[in-house]
Symmetry: D2
Subunit: 304 residues, 4 copies
């Protein structure tokens, strides 16, 4: 089957797939998004773009931004980064304080909230204008300078970030946050509030499929070695408490967000993104997970 | 660099690498093994065998046997198996009762002790003579019928298996063990007490690199789809509380044992095993981890 | 109000008090008891016996036996006993393995199952015939040699003791159980299977109200100092995860059992027992808790 | 022995008792206090005041203030208060977030930090000027209007309160904090920064020994019934993770603070306070615990 045929098949499948998931409501602004939104975009190294549905409509990337934050931090720092955040999968929900307390304020990995907050703290310490640099990084890897944050989502999330403030305070009590709590929280929420379409996200994620280089011009954004390590972290930690299930059923490194987006890659093959707002109980896009499982089944290969 | 050259380089490196690890002592019989033992074996799909050191000497495979147990169970059963054991990485040590109690007796994955005990229980319910079938399975995939258990290790482990008996009793209280506790424990310890050399283990693991087929004769031992799933579980759960670190540094699916062995694969490329008894604090072979990190660095590719 | 009037008032109150609790079912033999059973017995140092309802009918004392086990162990040993079991309240359910694992096999207190199992282990190591001595101890403090175990309850509990076997195996892995697991389990279940009436239990508990002496003949069963310590443990640990609530509402040291019995004392005043099988979600007799709250309200004094 | 003789004996004992404890250092201002400070004050209902050492020197009452906060809240509110904070002992350290997360933001009891923060939040919602009312309450029960906070301790604690801010944010995420986090934190630290001498504290605690009434004029500060309940909470929860040990060895309701103070009472008999800054590993005054154990041994009675 050709790629566009496969995507058409998935689109048909999804049209009749019942779902039990609910759109995220803990950020009021996100709760307004229609649960019917559905888009998918496949960007192949050798054969270009395939897509269906709302693949050109922007949505809140939320936790998918954590991959960009980690990439930026790893491009600026070496192994010292991993003294402040580990790379182990977490056996608890994405915002749990429990493991963090037992492990003395060192987050399990950069993709749970605690870990992403440490990465934000590192970027604030390293960059002169972290918000500007972060957005420029995304403009650079997508070649699209119109990508920006959604101010309403940003404001909305700011008002209900007590859990993240608790994480920051706990880590600061262990000495693992160096900057002001308000500043770290502000920068973290800024990243989450960025909006991108499936197509733009697939273009951005192409660097992870392409050994750290932009496909458009071959520019090395991050070393091949570090790219592999980011991919490994996506594989083991990219889906909250469902990373094993995603590896088991889909077999690709990827990252999900509570906006309903998922971005994944097959090294040296393609980047793929899907968007469907209803989330399963673990906080991942229910139809998105299914769409990617269908993709690797129909293409016949996962990375394993 | 050619493969034998790479292995020679690793052998030289290891000769001068200091280590802090200790040989496992909780099974008295294992404590007798010399910490100096060191062997590595690489078996490539296209170019055959490469090795150094004690690669032909048999050692106690211990938890590496859990991969064979899972394979056998998945070859006999379908998705119903995963109602009794999950496939998520575990954020705690390999024999912890804590997560098991919170999660109502359903082990996090088949590679922590609790999960392997459930797999043993399943095999006892399914097979007429589970010990015989298990050994025959290994004879089949290695083509070597002399592989057997070490009776002293078996006896030694039997006398100090209170933790595993606690896990079994706890799971039985939740209804997730169907057979007699003594019988499950006996079969589980039997599997751990099997002895194989690096070469034999690499040959056995070739089925995971080769889409579920024996390389020698093309016989399909387990479906390609199920092989991918086993590899995914090895990737996310194969190294106790260090699975993320192994993915991050090595980037291959694999499984370690407290006997000091590690077996790993690169899909469609090779199976590789290493044996060095001293264990790091997480219970994985210290030099073994390092040897495999060197291998993927020197060959220039992980699966990511 | 005189004591008998107070008890009559409580009896009237209970007759119209709705309850949501359920009779314990995890021991099949206990599940057969009528939820309507209800008895109360008050034994005052200065004025003798008061009672109502089924106060003369024997029931399974279950965990109330833990007080007798602790008393016997403390009468035989001094502070070395408390190296093997602590005296702190437990923030988890009565049979939880979690805290035990974090605290290296030292149970939080002698009234959670793990602690009572350690006490049983201690008694087996110290006494020639622990079952006989245990029963004789109860015969001695009650002056009633007809008290015995219920063999059906004993058999019934033996068949569903996987949780306790898990606790024993876990503690044995930490070196905190010295005897054979089967033997400790057997003796522990024996103690739980003893049957006594409210009147007999109140007579037995009189020693805790009377400075360690039998009221009938002034014989010192256990020193006054140790009696105070046992009472302190009852106060802080006697009601599983509801010890604080009981102190808060009732204000007396006491101990409950899943058979629906509660025994409590007011030092230098009285011993009181109540029996009503339906248990609240924390595992304590629902109407029993209420009856004792009414008692201290109507008499106008708790120990505080 | 007469009371003053008993206190003299304790003073002699303490002079030669070695201690391993350290003065609290997490609040820099407290770290400056001499570890040699030592005072004790016994205030008997029937026979007045007895004391030795630094009993007239003021020190930071810290967590002992939680008893006053609870008393004030219980005098203003009824059982609805206990929907927001439980009365169960806590099996973890005094500032742990873990239990709080598992129990959905409802603190285990009013004497762990989380619980005292909820009480502070309640008082802010109820009182027009909570700081003023709190201080006036202490002025009232001691008859001493010169009692005030230590501004340096207040400032010092404000700068290192990340743990408490984490607790507040976590509870606010569960909806169990109604006011601004900064305001609650400020009021909570204010209470902790109050300074009182042993004599003043013993006078204040006399209301708990005297059924809720001031001994000087018989004024009912809080009902007899509520006084008993406060005493019960002190008994089961007053000493962090050592409440059981204190009950076991001392047998009195009481409360300790990291300033090295302990206040305890014997209902209808006396209030007693002791001050010695070095803390044991559980955070309670090491010599203070010992002094109170000697007191109940030498007087021959605990409440049990």
């Amino acid at each position: 089957m050709k790629y566009q045929q496969i995507l058409n098949t998935i689109q048909s499948d999804l049209a009749t797939t019942p779902y039990a998931g609910k759109v995220a409501t803990y950020i009021p602004e996100l709760a307004k998004i229609s649960p019917k939104k559905l888009g998918m975009h496949l960007y192949c190294i050798n054969s270009g773009h395939y897509s269906f549905g709302d693949n050109d409509e922007r949505f809140s990337i939320q936790s998918i931004s954590k991959v960009f934050g980690l990439t930026l931090a790893m491009s600026l720092l070496n192994d010292e980064l991993f003294k402040r955040v580990d790379v182990e999968p977490s056996g608890n929900a994405f915002n749990s304080l429990i493991q963090l307390e037992y492990e003395n304020g060192i987050p399990r990995n950069p993709f749970i909230n605690a870990g992403a907050l440490v990465i934000s703290d590192v970027l604030i310490s390293t960059l002169k204008n972290p918000k500007k640099s972060f957005l420029e990084f995304i403009h650079d890897i997508t070649g699209n300078t119109s990508i920006a944050i959604n101010q309403e989502v940003f404001n909305s999330e700011k008002e209900c970030s007590f859990r993240n403030a608790a994480l920051l305070n706990l880590m600061k009590s262990f000495g693992n946050i160096k900057n002001e709590i308000e500043e770290v929280l502000d920068f973290y929420i800024y990243q989450c509030a960025i909006e991108m379409s499936c197509k733009e996200l697939a273009t951005a994620f192409m660097i992870y499929a392409n050994g750290g280089k932009k496909l458009s011009n071959g520019q090395q954004i991050i070393s091949s070695q570090k790219t592999k390590r980011i991919n490994a972290v996506m594989q083991t930690c990219g889906f909250y408490d469902e990373a094993g299930e995603f590896s088991f059923r889909v077999g690709l490194p990827g990252k999900s967000g509570v906006g309903g987006g998922i971005a994944a890659i097959h090294p040296e093959q393609y980047a793929v993104t899907v968007w469907s707002p209803p989330l399963n109980p673990k906080g991942n896009s229910e139809l998105g997970m299914y769409a990617l499982e269908r993709l690797t089944t129909l293409t016949g290969f996962s990375i394993f």
